[in-house]
């Protein structure tokens, strides 16, 4: 039997076959990665390019900006590319307000559009990317909000209860924040209206629940429609407690005065100081869109149940009977409870838009 030559045997060795394959892979890789570096491209609505420091907008409908990722040079520069995006916003106190994260992978010869999945987020955005050729980078830009039109806000939720739009006008600083005459989800700089950080966000000045969460999470910050619905639901849930409170206060007055009933009327009691009435945050001579009387039952627009319903949105109740003490007779006290005085007065002086 003829012995095989070393060279022949060498040719048949697995290592030699693998080295050919490795060389082929390297050749292909060189062909794929090439000498050109991948250029990560971000485009938005209308094909505009997003570059470092660009500012994009959540429009007023609301809709997040379209973001499409691609690679210039396509398959010649890389085979695949991974990306991750953080969009964050912080309160003025430095605490984090909202955070939206996305990530994905796509082939370099294709494009990928960010799926927002019905989430809305704004603030400082940073997209970090890396491809399979060892290249990486990031791009930072800004996403800001756009306030809705008053017509859009008013048509989104019915105008009941009767004071809803007055309350919305006050909470959203419609008449005190520029530009006036619109409900503000966002401050003039395009970030969520944050009037009492961290309490009070956006159109309805939502507060976080226990645990620091908002009903619709990040959407309550950046989508006015979610914020309005959640604020409206919050208001609806507190009506019963408000009506019960008025009934309780009326009964308390009756019991304290031995049945010598003292009527309650607002704002007239505040103007005349009838029966020693005390009024928090009240300025005489202001045009008001509300009035309440004890002659009207719960459920009436002019009943004190609705007055307390308004006040309860900001915490505590509108009217209480202060029992007679050694230092004063009993009296009706309006709008003086809770952290701030005059909440009902402020709502009732705010014209609906």
């Amino acid at each position: 039997m003829r012995k095989e030559s070393c060279s022949s045997r060498r040719d048949k060795r697995p290592g030699r076959r693998l080295s050919y394959m490795r060389l082929a892979a390297i050749m292909l890789g060189l062909i794929a990665c090439g000498t050109a570096r991948a250029q990560f491209v971000v485009q938005t609505n209308g094909g505009s390019t997003v570059s470092q420091g660009t500012t994009l907008s959540i429009d007023s409908s609301p809709a997040m900006p379209l973001l499409t990722f691609s690679v210039s040079g396509g398959a010649l520069t890389c085979d695949s590319l991974n990306w991750s995006m953080d969009i964050s916003w912080t309160f003025v106190t430095g605490n984090q307000g909202s955070l939206l994260e996305r990530s994905g992978t796509f082939y370099c010869n294709q494009t990928q559009t960010v799926d927002w999945n019905s989430e809305y987020g704004g603030g400082s955005a940073t997209v970090s990317w890396s491809d399979d050729c060892g290249h990486a980078g990031n791009i930072s830009f800004t996403i800001l909000g756009t306030n809705p039109s008053p017509a859009a806000v008013d048509s989104f939720i019915p105008s009941t209860p009767w004071f809803w739009r007055n309350l919305l006008a006050w909470e959203s600083r419609a008449w005190s924040t520029s530009p006036t005459g619109i409900y503000h989800q966002f401050a003039s700089g395009g970030t969520p209206l944050d009037c009492d950080c961290p309490n009070g966000i956006g159109l309805t000045q939502l507060d976080p629940a226990n645990g620091g969460t908002y009903p619709s999470g990040i959407n309550d910050f950046w989508a006015w429609n979610y914020n309005e619905v959640d604020g409206f639901n919050l208001l609806a849930n507190i009506r019963t407690a408000a009506y019960n409170n008025w009934t309780s206060e009326w009964n308390d007055m009756s019991a304290n005065t031995g049945g010598n009933l003292v009527p309650a009327n607002w704002p007239s009691d505040c103007t005349t100081h009838a029966n020693g009435a005390v009024c928090g945050g009240f300025t005489a001579g202001t045009t008001l869109f509300c009035s309440f009387s004890s002659a009207n039952a719960n459920g009436s627009p002019n009943g004190f149940g609705d007055g307390s319903w308004i006040h309860r949105y900001n915490g505590s109740f509108f009217v209480d009977w202060v029992d007679g003490t050694p230092n004063s007779p009993g009296y009706w006290e309006y709008d003086a409870q809770g952290p701030t005085n005059g909440y009902v007065f402020n709502v009732c002086k705010s014209p609906a838009i």
Binding site: A241, N244, N245, W246, T247, S248, E249, W250, N251, D252, S254, A255, N256, G258, G259, L261, A264, H273, N275, G276, V278, S294, A295, N296, A297, N298, S300, G303, F304, R312, G315, S316, F317, D320, V322, D323, G324, T325, P326, N327, S328, P329, G330, Y331, E333, A336, Q337, G338, P339
Partner: protein, 433 residues
Amino acid sequence: MSANRQRYSTVCRLVLFSALLWGIACRAQSKTQPASGRLYFLAATTSEHWPQAYPATLYAVDGSGRLQWLREVVSSTEGTRFIYAYGKTIFLLHPHSAVTGVTIMHTDDPMRADDVTFAPQGIIPSPSATVIVEPPGSAEALLVPWITNVKDSATPPEKIEVTSALISSDSANSAKRVRFNAWPEYAYLRSEGTGGGPNYVPGILTSRRNDRLAMDVFGHSTSLASLPPAMEQSSVPVVPVVVGSSDRFLVVVRQPTWEEINSGKLSSSRILHIFDRAQRAWTATRIDANAPSVRLVEPWLAIIAGIWRPDHKPPPGRENEREAETETDGPHPVRLPPVRVLYRSYAGHNIFFPGVLILRDLVDGRKIRIETGQEDSEILRVENDVVLYRVNDSIYQARIVGSELKDTTLIVKDEDVPEIHWAFWSKAASQKN
């Protein structure tokens, strides 16, 4: 004299002198000790008008000057509407929104739970006519009247209908624990008066009837005493308010009218009318504060000076009061109220508390003034010349010597101290630590 006899004489003198000193020390010590027993505190914030409810908690003091939690008297779910204390009993009406029952704290057995439901439907008790009474030969009881037919402000009834419950603190006979419509028992009205804290405390409103001081409750009239002389012929409408009533003393003030208050010419001082039942005579004493909170801890009046100030001038020490609602740490978390917000909304809304506490001995006339300089301060207890007083989150004990306080000592400082408005010593046999 021999040397030995001299030494013997000297030793005898020393022994006698030491015995004399020891006797003086013992006597002094016995005067500084209050009623013997353990010191207890009841912490509670009533919430008649506040939407949030807070617990009532019993504490003692541990060895490090901190509060030792003993038990929850009323839960934070229910809260308390009003609290009344006199003698050996503290009554806590709950829930805070609509009352169904009363929890009774027996100070001679503070760990004993005692709850009586008397209005399961939930009622609004009359704040100015709910009082403690102590009929002869009976234990203290709470008399609670309420209106049964006022529901809606828009449709007041033609005739007010009322009822009342008398809840005895004597739990020995459960069948007689609650009696209804016991109106004549108002004759035995007892009241410790008003403690400190941020809430309004309703006054016990009385009236002039047939030249007598009377308790008129929804048409049920009960004579209490003769009228103070100054109120007999007064041309100004008179609403007498009982601020303290004990076995010996009845203390009454005249409630100012709105005309007087709104005139801005309210006197800077206030007259307390004191009826001494033993002497059967009225006297009057002037307090240098026109809106005081008065507590009767016989024979002392313990007063928190207050001044009517509707301009809401910021009082001293409000910045030291708890601003936001919080909860204590540890195995028994306790919900704590926003004291500063409550003062601003209620007791401190129209009244300026400069941080001055006054003690007046109704027997010998002694006056003692304690300047705390803090709005949230009060006298908790006076017993056997020992006084306990609270300043924000600290409680001090001092000895009354003549017209002075001596040996003032901090005895407890803790997070839930601002809610303490009742203190007592007890020799209770059953103590669960």
